[in-house]
Every structure is written in structure tokens, then in C-alpha cells.
Symmetry: D2
Subunit: 325 residues, 4 copies
């Protein structure tokens, strides 16, 4: 699994099936809304074999995909918000009196990594209100708190340490952690939301988390929610080359032997060569679209709205706007 | 003590002596550098009587005052930075292997309350470096981390809960909490630094903290460092009136009886009347200078430099600039 | 007029009538919506006498007041947005093909002065779209541009120079300039919107503009829109003292002679004494509420929505949200 | 020239010589400081032939390269700052009484495009001081102003229109425009500064400027200063493939014929195929390093320091820090 970098379970399944391998220990179901252009894929890793093949822990990974996330299609957005809220409910049965801690992972100073903090900005935070809860919200909201722990390079503290320390104090029933992810295909950037009950894993996201934030490490259920805002540069090059060679082979059948040989180069070998060329001293480089600030803002709105609807069940989007604006 | 609002122990002593009271249980020593225009006052509250009179816990409160903090006097700033570092050392004996957690209290979205977060931005954070510590820093820095926990209105979590949760995880030997304060006199705004081993107390700062962050609540020594960036509006009015009446009395000796009567009005009574007039539904209002962004930035530089020098004893200001810029 | 500082024409009229003067050359009409708690006052300065008495140029000054601006009353906000759009239309007859330049005055780094820049952030900017205008907006929007010129202390350039230079290039039919203002009464802060066809005048706002931005200086109609986010400190003290003395006089009729004498002190004399006490070297100081970031954000939403509805007549609030979020 | 995207004249010369073409109408001189690891290359395009081959206007393009820009090498930084100041002087002979307008191009909300605005933040702006110039600066500074015009997508106004409008008002003798650029090689990112008297050209930078900001369009000399903070994604893939095939050919001489054929594919053809694969609907995508916020901040410091030294000849770096911090 080391020759492409992706945080999307869906892309892991694609990569495996492209390589001709059989995928056991993984169940995949798909729902399509052709009218609104939304696809929901549920990937469920059921055992260690599937986990090893996928490079991801056992658990559920639900992907909501729609190019409309990059456009101004209000109807589609509202449907996506409802789907997000419904799937959240499927992954975790939230009692009315549940206390929820939302964590916005990422470095707000790096635009493609600012998704988590931007989502937290738009969450209707209520845990502190207690008796001061406005009359028209009483009985219609849950106790929700939101924290943006920054990144280790700026705080000197592992994000997981901060989350665990705070969680031990406020004892939430559920942690929801939002993170910016890396995808394999550029077409998935800012057009995909993945939610998973496997939490946040080491090596994921832009910051390459070192310590997991999941039920094991926190002692509390953790739902990870992510949007790919970048593609890892070496993955982009490797992937594009693969597809190019495929297209050139189709267009020039005489040379197919040659291209076949080129393509047959060990994937890992070619990826390694690419990473070397891309300057081994550079550290990770990422590919992101030019209008990244606008799209990250739009996705943050969609995700925060989904959470607000899901967590505060007695209120609508209008109610939320009232208290946030 | 309820008729003026100030976080500066120094101003409490002034107010008490103005009222003619005797101050017991409080020791005050002063050092003046007339050349550079810097005054350092050490207020030490030694018993409960002093604590009750002052409205502050037993402990040490060191105030560094200099109008040069509002100007571009590099020589004076460098001296202030050194004084800050020295006094920090006087309040707490820091072992070489000590781990320090710096907390930047305050809401970065409200300019006069953004001091804490701005200081954290300029701290040389090292705790996470471990073996990756650059060669030329090794053996010359302590393990320092920095966190900005936001404010309860935005997170839904008491700042003290966040600090305690994180402290329990990373076990620092010392917590230094930076906060923006309220002063009584406008001349003290952005021209004063107070450091205290009594930590951060309920009712202090712009946010009016509800839970203390001190040795009792954290189980770890806490040094509070603050700069008054605002004056509480009702305090300003009450105070100014007091002084006006005094000046008018001096200028018109015939009316002295009258002014004397006016001034003799119970301080608390007058203050209460002022707060009513200032609109009881308004909540707290603060007075701040127009160029608050520039001055808060300058103070943040001075304080962060003081910490960097004090906590990383083997390096100079130039070294710090190298790693921060 | 120099003993109180206010940018609100409405407050000038109040001050004059309190002093017992007769107000000529000024017409005042008021509309009240008791149901929603909104008051609209139209102050029209018709000649030089009125202009001199008011300390403001000849022109129209419409004030929309409502405490609901500080609350989460969506119904009232929607009505305020509609009123704002309607009054804008009353002050300037906008042709369908008109090009509009919106200027967000103020220093975004100083929270109470950040209103202008925050409004510009939420304007549906269309001037550059041309043929690229999305199909569903075509024919329903005007050509609108938005600029935040910063402040002279940061750019070295008079704001009016920047505005004029840009206006000469893009030739708008109308300039709308948004600014944060100073009020006399704290109750008006963040609860009042003033729109005027007299533009922006020297000495106004937090930054105390030195050069006017109005039809005379720009050669193009300029509508000034402002919200008071602060009260000038000396004005606050002077005003509060005045009211206090009044209340004390009422409560103690025997001393009325005394209080009467104190109150009879020349207003300017007393104000001058206050400014001296408040530290003449300090420059202007302002009073602002603690939650200034949230309220400025809310007001920015209301004002931007009003402009978007007024300037893009074929679209609704939902349409705007679609393109901004 | 359309099969690689780079704003660096230096990289244009490399590409041309790699393709075996002869380069006429272009003069290149190089200075190396091996001790500090700094290379300065002066590319001078002298005629139309050179201009066409290079895809850049006639003029001078000085490149300062050093990997130390990405590190904490104060000695090297100080030398780079001095080189920058000297070369600025070589490109334009600045009279003592000259008025300079600095323009920070770019969208501050997109981290790799925020270089211009960040540099402007650190410029010692003096034009507005006039008689208020502090005594110790008098006679030692020039009149410098700084403006960040935003981007057309946010203002609705062509950046060049804003710059020209302001320049016509304040009549500077020189405009210096700072921009974030795209490079061909990742190793050049954040390690290169290009200054040119050909100004800013259409198609350059991250925003792909549509209108030139140069002496022709402004009527005033324009010096463009840029740092590559990104690599265009399609260029990265194409370039990496080229180099990979080269290395594979070297490693397997038997297949050289094959690789030679693959490499001989028309550069433009291959690049076109890559852009198609990279999703033609995506718009431009850029590659940037993960720590982009820190590096852009560091480069902004270096560039602003260079300008401050060059434009205010009577002051040192210490003096600048005094007034900026």
C-alpha cells in the first residue's frame, strides 16, 4: 500500500481492485442519487486480512461524493447535509443527554489544512450555557463543545495528548474529529466527505499524525470526519504516469509491449524513484487547487451544518443561522 | 474594593492609601531606573488581612512600569526584557530539566484580549523536538510548550478545565499563563507588566475568568503574567469624576465644602449609580486606545522575548530570532 | 458642538434640544415599528444654519435603531435588512446598468474598526464576471465591486486618495462607503445603522478621517453607511457626569442649587478638564463592549445582506448565500 | 514555451539549453558565494528574438538562490538582504527625494499566495508622516507607501486598475510589486528571489494576472520581486517524467532506444496529455510544501528587510525593528 498515499478507504478499494487483487474482509455498498449527483459508498473492514490489505483499522468508512460540493448547488448541499447527519447517526447512537466534543484538527495558518478550525468556528457551541441557555433553544439542543488544538509544531504537544487531557476532564460521550485529508485523485479534492468510526489514525492527513485519536487511545468513541483538500505530490506523479502510459498504449497498439513493460515496473520502485527526483530533502509536498480558500470555506459550512443538525435535533438550519450570525 | 476594577495589585495599594487606610499584611518595595524610565514595584501580600484588603490572594506581585513600552526605545525594551526574565527567576527556581507549559489566555478575535495568543505565537517551542533538536540548540534550551485554549464562549469549555486536562497529560514543572488585564488608570494601559506567583484568579482579565488557574487548582506552580490593555468603563468614569472634583475643589476654595460633600459620597454608591447610567443591560464595557493592535503586538514581543531568554538560558535574542523568523 | 463626540446626526439633534436651543434648518421625521422594536429617524439638514448647528454637511441622515441588532431575532433582522435596502433606494436612484463601488473603511486589525472590511467580505462581487456570470445570475445582478483600502497609518496613503484613484479608473455610478462610528450613548453601540448621502466626513469614525469621501471630493455620489461600535472615552465621562448630577439633583432637592451650579459649568470647560485628566498624551481612547467581535460580525452580516438585496434586485437572500458559502 | 510553467527567467534559460537550442538575445552572468551558499544569476533579455524564445519581455531578471532561505542561517540571510538591496539599486537609481509605492500582490487568504501582503506588513511606511516623522528618523528615510490590492475574484477590480489609479494620485517615482511565483523545479520553491525591471506580466504568478503592471501600463518604472512558492502541477508531472525516463534510460542501456522514443514525444503533446488526465475541469492546481506558512513568513521577512534597507538608506536593520516591533 506504500506507493500511493490516500486517506480515503474508497480509494484503497479502487487501487486494490485495479491491481487485480481480490478483496476479502471488506464489504462495500453504494447508493447513488443520479438526480442530485451524489454517491454514498459504505466501506466496512471486517477483519484483520481486510485491515492489512487496506492499510486501515477495522471499522466503517462512509464516503459522500459529489462534484456539487465545489459548486453553488443549494439543493444538493442541503441533501448532503442531511445525508451527513443521517450517517453520523448510523455510526453512533446519540442519546439526548449525550455530551459531544468536536475537535478541529489542523493548522489554521495553512489554508488547505484549515478545514478543522473553520468547521469549529461554525458549530453551535452549547455546553457552557447551562441555565443560561436561551429559552427558545432549551430542550432542543445537546451539550456540544468545540476545540482546535493546533499542531504539534506550534504547541510542542501531541494533538492526541491535548484531546485526551481535555476529554478526561469533560467526559464527553462522543468525540468528533475533523481533519483535512490527502486523496489519490485530484477529482476527489473538495468533492468528498469521509466519516469513519475508526477515528483518526497515525500517518493520516496533511500533518501526518503520529498518535491515533480513536476509541482505543481515548477510551471514548471517536468519529473521524475528513475532506481531501490535497493530493500528495509523489502520488500525483506516479498515478498520472500510470494513466498516461495506459492511454499511450491504447493509442499505439504496436508499442504495447513497450508500454506494458514500463507499466509493469514495480509500482513501489517507480514511486521510490519519483520521490527521489522530487527532492528527498523537501519533505512532503502537496497539490492543491488555486481557489483553496473558497472551497475549504464552503466545505466547512456543509460539514458544520451537518453536525449542527445532527447534534441539536430540535432545531433547523435557520435556527442555527440565528445564533451564529 | 468593589468600586474600582483593576487587576494590578499596585493599583489596589494606591487606592487603599488614597482612602487613608493603613495597609497591613502587605510589603511594598520599589526600584527605579530613572535613566531608562523603568519602575519595578514588588508587592507581597503576606497574610489574610492583607489579602482581604487587597482583594487578591496571598503571594507576590511584581509590576514593571515604563512608558517606553509604548514607544520605540530599543534600549529600554532590552532592559525590560532582562528585568522580566530576572523576576521570573525570582518567583520560581527553574531547574535545567524543567518542562514549562505556556498558556496564552484570551480571545484572539478581540484585539485588546489577544495578548496571550500573540505571545504564544512568538515563543520558541521546543518540547516536541526531542532528538530532532537542531545541533546548535542542543543543551541550550528547555522543553517549552505553548497552548492557546480560546475562551469559554467559543469552546463551551472552562479555560481552566482545558489547562488542567493538558497539564495532567504533559506534567509540566511550571505553568506560565499570559492574560490581558484591566487597569484603573489609562496611563497604565500598555505600559505595565505584572507577574505574580498567585496565578490567574476568578473575576480577572477581560473575560472575567470564573475558575482560578493557580497552584491550588492545577497542582503545579502557576505564574500569571499580564498587561493591562483596557480600563473598565465604569471605573474610568468614577475615577475621573473623583479627580475632577478634586481639581475643581482646589481651584475654587470657596466651594470646597460643596465639593468635599460630593466627593464624600460613598465611593460604592457613586460607582453603582454610574454603572446604572452606563446601561445595566450592556454588560461590561472597556476603554482602549485606538492603536491597540500595534501596542498589543509590541507588548507581545517584549513578553515573549523575556520568556524565551528566561526559559532557554543558553541562547540570546539573536538566536531566538533565527528560529522564529 | 465640541464637547461631545458623535458621528450620529440623530445624537446631534438630541444634544441640541437638551441644551434648549431651537433647531432650524433641520427636518426630523420618525417611523416606529413597535411590534419588531425598530425605529427609523430621517434627519434632513437643509441649510447652512442647520449645518453649522449640527456640525454636519447639508444632506440626509437616516438612522435605523433596534436593540434586536444585538440579539438573535431573525424576524427583526430580516425587516432591518429590507428597511436598509429601501432607504438606500430612497437616497439614490440606482439604474439597472449602474456600476457600484463599495468601500470598506477601517483597520481590520482593530476589532471595533473592522466593520467595513467585514462587510466587504460578504458582498456578492460581480463586476469582473462579465460573460463568465453564472447563467442563473445573469440579468439579475448589477456590476458591484468591493475594496478595503486599509488605513493611512499602515499604507502611508490617505484613504480618500486610494478611493479617488480607483474610482477614476473604474468610473462607478455610486460609491457606498462603510465605516465604524463613534456614538455618544453606549446604548447606541451596535444597535444603530446610519446611512447618509453626505458621504464620509473629516473627523469622523475611529480613525478620524482627514479628507472627505463625498460627492464633492470624488465627483461621484457617495453614500456613507456606519454603525457606532465605540463611544469616545471623554464623551462617555462627560455625558455620564451630566446625567449623574441630574439624578443626584432630583434625589436631593435641597442641594439643587449646588448641583445646578455644577451642571451649569460650561460644557466645553468640563469636557476639556476631563480630556486633560484622561491623559493628554494618550491620544483618543474608545469604549467598546467585551463581545465586540461577535457583534461587529453580526452587524456586518446585516449590512452586507441589505446591500446585496438592494444592489442585485433580481435575487434573494438564499441566492446570495448560495454564491457566498 | 508552453509545456512548462515557470515565472523564473533562469528556468527558461535552463529549459532552452536542455532542448539543445541556442539562446541569442539573452546574456547570462553568474556570481557564486560558495562560503554562504548563495548564487546570483543576472539574465538580461536584449532583443525580440531573446524575448520570444524566453517568453518574457526585454529587461533584466536577477535571481538570488540559496537553500539557506529555508533554514535559520542568520549570516546567510543578512548577506541575502544586502544583495537584494544592492541589486535593487542596480535596477533603479533611486534619488533621495524619491517616493516609492510598494504593492503586495496576492490573496492573503491562500497561504502560498500571501507573500505580497505579508511583505507589506513589514515595510517601514513613512509617506504619511511628513512633519510628524520621529526626530531620529528625519533625513534618514524616504517616502514609502505600501498597498495590498487584493485579487480580482474578491474585489471585482483588475489589480492593475487599482495600482494605476492609486499611482496616478500619489505619483510615485518607482513602483515595487511583490508577487508569489510558480517555478519549474521544487528545489527552487522558497529558495529563490527574482527581481526584474520588466515588472509583472500577464499569465504570471498564482493568480495568472491578466493585465501587466509594468512601465508601459503604469507610466512609471515597475520593479517586480517574486519568490516561487509553488510548482504548477502539470509542469511537475511532465518534468518528473522527463527526468525519470532519463534515469531509466541510463540504468538500462539496452532499452535506450525505447526510452529515447518515449522522451522524444513532443514535449507539448505529453504536457497536453498530462493536463487532460489531471482533470481539465479542475483549473490550475499547484504543488506546495506542507510548512508553507512558516517559509512564506521567513521569505517575507527577508524581502521586507531588503526593501527597508534599500529604500531608507540612513537606517539599519535594528532601527527598522525598533519602529516595526
Amino acid at each position: 500500500m506504500n506507493n500511493i498515499r490516500t486517506d480515503l478507504a474508497l480509494e484503497n478499494t479502487e487501487h486494490i481492485s485495479e491491481s487485480g487483487q481480490e478483496l476479502t474482509g471488506v464489504e462495500i455498498t453504494t447508493e447513488e442519487d443520479d438526480n442530485l449527483g451524489i454517491t454514498v459508498t459504505w466501506v466496512k473492514i471486517t477483519d484483520e486480512i481486510g485491515s492489512t490489505a487496506m492499510g486501515k483499522p477495522i471499522g466503517n468508512y462512509i464516503t459522500i461524493e459529489s462534484a456539487t460540493m465545489k459548486e453553488s448547488d443549494t439543493e444538493a448541499h442541503e441533501e448532503i447535509i442531511k445525508i451527513l447527519a443521517r450517517k453520523l447517526g448510523k455510526l453512533h447512537d446519540l442519546k439526548p443527554e449525550a455530551v459531544v466534543l468536536i475537535i478541529g484538527l489542523g493548522n489554521w495558518q495553512v489554508t488547505p489544512d484549515a478545514l478543522g478550525p473553520k468547521v469549529c468556528d461554525k458549530i453551535l457551541v452549547t455546553r457552557h450555557l447551562g441555565d443560561a441557555t436561551p429559552l427558545d433553544l432549551q430542550g432542543r439542543v445537546r451539550a456540544v463543545s468545540a476545540l482546535t488544538p493546533g499542531v504539534m509544531g506550534l504547541t510542542g504537544i501531541e494533538t492526541a495528548e491535548i484531546v485526551k487531557g481535555v476529554a478526561e476532564k469533560i467526559q464527553p460521550d462522543l468525540i468528533i474529529a475533523i481533519d483535512a485529508l490527502a486523496a489519490r485523485r485530484t477529482s476527489r479534492i473538495n468533492a468528498t466527505i469521509q466519516i469513519s468510526d475508526a477515528g483518526i489514525n497515525p500517518g493520516s492527513g496533511l500533518g501526518n499524525k503520529r498518535v491515533a485519536i480513536n476509541q482505543d487511545s481515548m477510551g471514548i468513541p471517536v468519529i473521524g470526519v475528513g475532506v481531501p483538500t490535497v493530493v500528495d505530490a509523489a502520488t500525483l506523479v506516479n498515478d498520472t504516469m500510470e494513466r498516461m502510459l495506459g492511454e499511450m498504449a491504447e493509442a499505439a497498439p504496436d508499442e504495447e509491449a513497450f508500454y506494458g513493460m514500463l507499466r509493469g515496473l514495480d509500482d513501489a520502485e517507480r514511486y521510490g524513484l519519483i520521490k527521489e527526483i522530487l527532492d528527498p530533502y523537501e519533505g512532503n509536498m502537496f497539490v492543491t487547487p488555486k481557489d483553496v480558500d473558497a472551497v475549504v470555506g464552503r466545505l466547512a459550512n456543509i460539514i458544520a451544518s451537518g453536525f449542527n443538525i445532527a447534534l441539536h435535533p430540535g432545531i433547523t438550519q435557520e435556527d442555527v443561522n440565528r445564533y451564529l450570525n
